[in-house]
């Protein structure tokens, strides 16, 4: 055999029932489109949720004293006596290739009082310069951030409303300190933030790390937390695994925890979405496979005399199977091409300019994460590969039965019209 004739025959047959070929290819391309876009959208939502769930305050990775969680006791600090020990810890954390920024924090619970009202609150002491590259909460809507070492505070809008205070007003802050006494001091409101999550805006007060350490009698080197940014959230676990031995060998009693441990419900949601992607693929191509199988059955049935003739003339049954499969492969190829050509512009468009649905709904929070009303589409590379492979698979699988049937035609009877 110099050259297989089956491609020639297969190709010519494709052109024969052009309309049906186009319709089938369009259906497959449509399936491809729905899979890639649906998966892209759902990944966009997941990415948005993870981003919102981590970059508001938590970061994608945190370092704590081993017993700090889950109670967040103010006694469970790590670090040293002076600020230098914090800096050396930050250097270690930021040395990880996946970590782009890190910020130290001190927390305390206390009472916040204005002239007429008092509310319970959570005080968060931050390194102002570093914090802005780690969390979104320090993006104030009004006013400015506290200056380091001063008794200045930034409140959530909701707390400001409850206390009936504005920028420039004074607050009385009372908080239990680590020596068992009560620390208390006056703070000036210098800024207001609005995170979009009311519970947070009603409780969290941002002050400088030095002021809070002073209030609750911590040394300058003692902190409760380092929050870090991991550029791709899914690298956080690896980063934590790399950091822990480094922290240990540095002599600090501290451990790194990725967001996946801090927010398991987000991970579960992401897993649920992956599972649903699988279902989408199965359903879409499950439907496609019947369509294609039906088309191929019709197409091969119409040509049964032709197959019988070829078999009678001495085509091998395997050759007939190959010719039908070749046709299916060509069909799959055309469909993928059409699918890509059709899908790519939408995908790129939606990725670059996410659909803003805020005209229809405001933002909402889902398992404690704020989800903005923007449909962001991620490039679902794995889904693109999976969709392409399943599309080819669908075309070939759907053609297998018609191919075998054609190869087994009784040549003589079929030619006689029996």
């Amino acid at each position: 055999m110099k050259k297989s004739p089956w491609w020639t025959i297969g190709w010519r047959n494709m052109g024969r029932s052009r309309r049906r070929t186009y319709i089938t290819a369009a259906a497959l391309a449509g399936g491809y489109f729905s899979i890639v876009v649906l998966v892209g959208l759902s990944r966009g939502i997941v990415a948005e949720m993870i981003a919102n769930g981590t970059d508001l305050i938590a970061g994608q990775l945190q370092v704590h004293a081993p017993d700090y969680l889950p109670d967040k006791s103010i006694y469970e600090t790590f670090g040293g006596v002076d600020r230098a020990s914090i800096d050396s810890l930050l250097t270690i954390v930021e040395s990880d290739p996946d970590i782009s920024a890190a910020a130290p924090r001190v927390y305390a619970g206390g009472l916040i009082g204005s002239d007429n009202f008092t509310v319970p609150g959570q005080l968060m002491g931050v390194d102002v310069d570093r914090e802005s590259s780690v969390s979104r909460i320090v993006r104030v809507d009004e006013g400015r951030l506290p200056r380091p070492g001063t008794n200045e505070a930034v409140l959530g809008g909701e707390m400001a409303r409850q206390l009936e205070v504005a920028i420039g007003d004074e607050l009385v802050v009372v908080a239990p300190s680590v020596d068992g006494s009560m620390g208390n001091d006056l703070f000036t409101v210098v800024g207001i933030y609005n995170s979009g999550i009311v519970e947070l805006d009603a409780t969290t007060v941002i002050v400088s790390i030095e002021a809070l350490q002073y209030l609750i009698f911590l040394d300058e080197g003692q902190i409760h937390e380092i929050a870090a940014v991991v550029l791709d959230p899914w690298d956080a676990e690896d980063a934590a695994d790399r950091l822990n031995p480094l922290l240990q060998s540095s002599g600090h009693e501290a451990e790194a925890v990725p967001w996946t441990e801090l927010r398991p419900e987000l991970v579960e949601y992401a897993n649920l979405v992956s599972a649903s992607e699988f279902i989408i693929v199965i359903v879409v191509f499950g439907m496609a496979i019947f369509g294609v199988a039906n088309t191929m059955l019709m197409a091969t049935y119409e040509r049964r005399r032709e197959f019988a003739l070829l078999l009678a003339l001495g085509a091998s049954p395997w050759g007939v199977i190959k010719s039908v499969l070749a046709e299916a492969i060509a069909l799959g190829f055309i469909s993928i091409l059409a699918g890509v050509v059709f899908t790519a512009p939408f995908l790129i468009w939606w990725h670059v300019a996410p659909l803003d649905l805020s005209f229809a709904s405001g933002g909402f929070s889902m398992s404690g994460s704020y989800v903005s009303p923007v449909l962001r589409v991620e490039y679902p590379w794995s889904a693109i590969v999976v969709a392409s492979v399943s599309l080819f698979g669908t075309a070939v699988l759907a053609a297998t039965y018609p191919a075998i049937r054609s190869a087994r035609l009784p040549a003589a009877d079929t030619l006689a019209g029996r």
Binding site: S316, P317, G319, G417
Partner: protein, 236 residues
Amino acid sequence: MSDKTIAVKTENLWKTYEHDGIEVHAVRDVSLTINSGEFVALAGPSGSGKTTLLNLIGTLTRSTQGKVWIAGRDVTNEPEGVLARLRLQSIGFVFQAYNLLPILTAAENAELSLLLQGMDPAERRQRVLDLFGRIGLNGLEDRKPNKLSGGQQQRVAVARAVVGEPAMVLADEPTANLDSHASDELLDVMEELNRDLGVTFVFATHDPRLMERAHRIVHIVDGAVASDEVKTVQNA
């Protein structure tokens, strides 16, 4: 048993079909030997089993009982793939209905078995053109079958059967739909191929004109051989 001078041999060949529980013996205990280079007609009334016998000889159908040898080789139980190759290489078929593919041109139809053999396009086109010249199909190479007369279509079918230079051609009622002029022309072509190339021809027919020109007539009645007469005027 690998006697190349015997084109085909059958031994106690039976083919039985079942219709609503009743057995129909389409071919009944046929033992027949056809030598290479023969020009044989299988004659008999409609329903006598001519097509069935031809299909058995051509390995298109398997026998219910009995054996078939082709060029000395027992093909009774060969697998389908092996039979396909055998047909491709050494048997040409002219079917009762011409069975040309409507989407292919006359030349492409005639090229089919060469295409299946994997011959390169230029060579197979040349062969078909030569043959078309010899059988009066000059200039009709690029016509689709529906633009050809019945006789022309039948000649294309014969061209397709002989172009691969098979050892044997099996033709089922090749003249059935032709007027006497067209049928004479077609027979001239086949006789010439038989004489010049030594191709064995086996026809199923009830056309007296064809029987007249056959060198040997095997009469089939009810699936069985009723008589087998070899004509004296034979130049083989």
